[in-house]
Amino acid sequence: MKKIAIEHLARVEGNGGVTATIDGRLVTDVKFFVNEGPRLVERLVLGKTPEEDVNLVPRICAICSVSHKYAAIRALENALGVKVSAKVTLLRELMLLGEMIESHSLHVYFLALPDYLGFPSAVAMASKYSFETKIALEMKQFGNHIMKTVSGRFIHGENPVIGGFGKYPSRKEFVWIRNRAIQFMPFALKTAKLFAEVNYPNCPEAGTIFSCLNPDQEKFGFVGDEILLSTGEKISVKDYRDLTNEFLVSHSTCKRSHYKGKPYSVGALARINNLGERLEAEAGKMYKKYFNSHWKKNPLYNNAAQGLEILYSFERIPQVIDELLKLPDPPLVKYTKKEGKGAGAVEAPRGTLFDCYEVSGGRIAFADIVTPTAQNAEDIERYCYLAAQKLLEEGQEDKVKERMDLVVRSFDPCISCSVHMVQVKKATEEDWKEKLASLIKSESVVFVGLGKENHGDDGAGRELALRLREQGVKDVWLEEEIEDSFWEKNFPQPLIFIDAVCFGENPGKIALLPLQYVLWNSVSSHRLSLFLRNSLNYDQINNSFVLGIQPGLIEEGKGISRSVSQALQKILDEIKNYD
């Protein structure tokens, strides 16, 4: 079994990875996992005061600590009916712009760019690109400086609190930040251009749903009370559960999300896709110049989107500060409410972050936090799979690990949010046997044989199903027997579809694949895809498999070829063993 492991995905924040299992020209398994130990943050804040919660939850992730603080404050202010003045909102925006600059410039220059230039680390890159590295470092430092000035520290500053700020920066500090932002404009422009012009590989490419917050007044920005999807749908933040639908998988500590049964993406690329038209000035010009169809389907363009957002942030800072300078420092808003429920969200650098609390008797009674990486996890896995499968089909197995590394890193996964790692395993001839055995042994399964009789190897699935029945296996169905009543049964146990599937391998090759991979259209089984669309719910799709046999000849009036017959016998013998 060959397993490509990107275990300890270096240069991403936190602890997780991806493993891919390869069987000949097939990817049979891809898993994005988070090895981070469980921290139970949503539980440990129960019984604490709202103020303590705001101290504690940013510790989920240092790199997004400002976003975590801001999302918690928004949710709790909604719950407790706290209304803050324009100066507070603007200053919170400034700290978030600082975090965007810090996080994005760290990611694009120091974590992603070495990949595209072929260096193992930013430090190694620094010797050849000393000017770029130096200015990029200054840019990141400037982001840090804003966060420190506004929040009190580089990381986990406590100055932003429910009701406002403990202290406001001085006029001198504001003016310094404003002028420094203007000085950075040539480099911000260069950054946007550099990452828009990187020659990103065309693989993987596949559409997805993009989700981000919808800022008020049709503006570009990072805060809103409504979720906007690339499908055009809008969801109020208080109904965020309609979008996020969190669920657990056994191979990761990080929860997962899907929207109406489909994976979706959040982050800079989602924001540029959904809101890019709203960008003004230089960022607007850059968007018009560079945005094209690749941005809609290739996650690697997230680096380009981050470049655009760096430029947007530098253009926005002087506007925010000009407003801030006009307003007096408001006192902290005191509140008396001890009961309430509320949700709040902000766009963290890597995507939408939702917080929801219930306060009872002045203490936290319920907490729910949905992080961007939890929402991106499904798409990270899907795009890794698509990239690996495409490369194998092109005979470029040697590039699989490197490409998956690029894909995972492009999502800028904040693994503390719950991720370091890509593993590629090579499956042996026996891999499908082990998987089939564990499936059949752990629970009852339903077999569905697909294909037509007298069509050569196309009849392989049907033939195997018939022979399983002869062997006395229960719950075996044939394609022609499937009617509405079958779907209405909503089988909770795994469905195993047996079908002739073209893997581009020698006739008779057997593989057991998650059903999802066939639906992602990478492995050709048009029969199955047509047959299944819309008939299974998300959980069933996740819990179902395809037992595929590479056909030889498919021709009307012919029987099943010798090599496929032998494969069918192998499967039958295997299943017989389990009884």
Binding site: E13, N35, E36, L40, E52, R59, A124, G166, L248, S416
Partner: protein
């Protein structure tokens, strides 16, 4: 002839990665750090990591999985000096909130339900010295830049680090802040270890206790002072326990009159 450089490894166990990030945030000094020592392993900063014999291992985060327990034992075995960095590594951090195993198990079940984890074997969060001998402790949430640079250079020079043992109040006085307790604001400064330059109080906000319990001073008297001010006994304990996790119960045991 140039002196042989020390071999350093920077590791992250479970936590927010804030301490490793803070090291990255030492932007100007970072190049010099990479020049002054051989950074053999630093996952957040580079890909070509080697896990061999080390002079110094800096370890962030608490041990929360069986794998991490193995990692920390391995790090100890191949390192001459182990430094716990950040409050999670030193004291267990926020995730060590459930001190009783039973509590932790119940809460774990509430979050993860019946889903069986195949990728990790979770453990109740513990500071690293539950498993190995730690040579130095650099607390903070996250660690402070000045303290880190001072500790790092002391160790590079072959000297023990010079860390504060007194409470935040001392730094707060150096900064000439008005005492928040005098304004009846509930501040944990008297009980919390210094090193943050009294940052929260500099911002007119009370100390939240993120450096863990102070080692010096008359702790019982400080605790009584908070009680005399009329702050709730349980709330003081709750707030102190937020960050200092596992160490808090030991700290509490040294306080007369703090236990009920």
């Amino acid at each position: 002839m140039e002196k042989e450089k020390l071999k350093i490894g920077i590791y992250e166990l479970t936590g927010c990665a804030g301490d490793a990030l803070l090291i990255l945030d030492c932007e100007e000094e970072l190049i010099n750090i990479f020049k002054a020592a051989d950074i053999e392993s630093f996952l957040m900063a580079k890909s070509d990591n080697v896990d061999g014999e080390l002079d110094v291992a800096l370890v962030e985060g608490s041990v929360t999985t069986e794998k991490e327990r193995e990692i920390i034992l391995d790090i100890r075995q191949r390192s001459k000096i182990v430094v716990a960095i950040g409050i999670c590594s030193c004291f267990g951090g926020i995730q060590a909130a459930f001190l009783e195993e039973k509590d932790w198990k119940e809460n774990f079940k509430e979050v993860y339900g019946a889903t069986k984890m195949t990728h990790i074997q979770p453990l109740q969060s513990k500071p690293i010295d539950e498993y190995i001998k730690v040579d130095y402790y650099l607390p903070g949430c996250p660690i402070g830049k000045e303290q880190f640079l001072s500790t790092f250079t002391h160790i590079l020079a072959g000297n023990p680090p010079d860390l504060y043992r007194f409470p935040v109040c001392v730094e707060c006085k150096w900064n000439e802040n008005d005492c928040l307790l005098n304004k009846d604001i509930f501040c944990l400064g008297p009980l919390t270890l210094a090193g943050c330059n009294s940052v929260c109080i500099n911002y007119n906000l009370p100390c939240v206790g993120c450096w863990g319990p102070s080692e010096d001073g008359n702790r019982t008297s400080e605790f009584s002072l908070l009680l005399e001010k009329g702050f709730d006994h349980e709330l003081i304990k709750q707030k102190m326990a937020n960050f200092s996790g596992t160490r808090f119960s030991e700290f509490l045991a040294t306080l007369k009159g703090a236990k009920k």
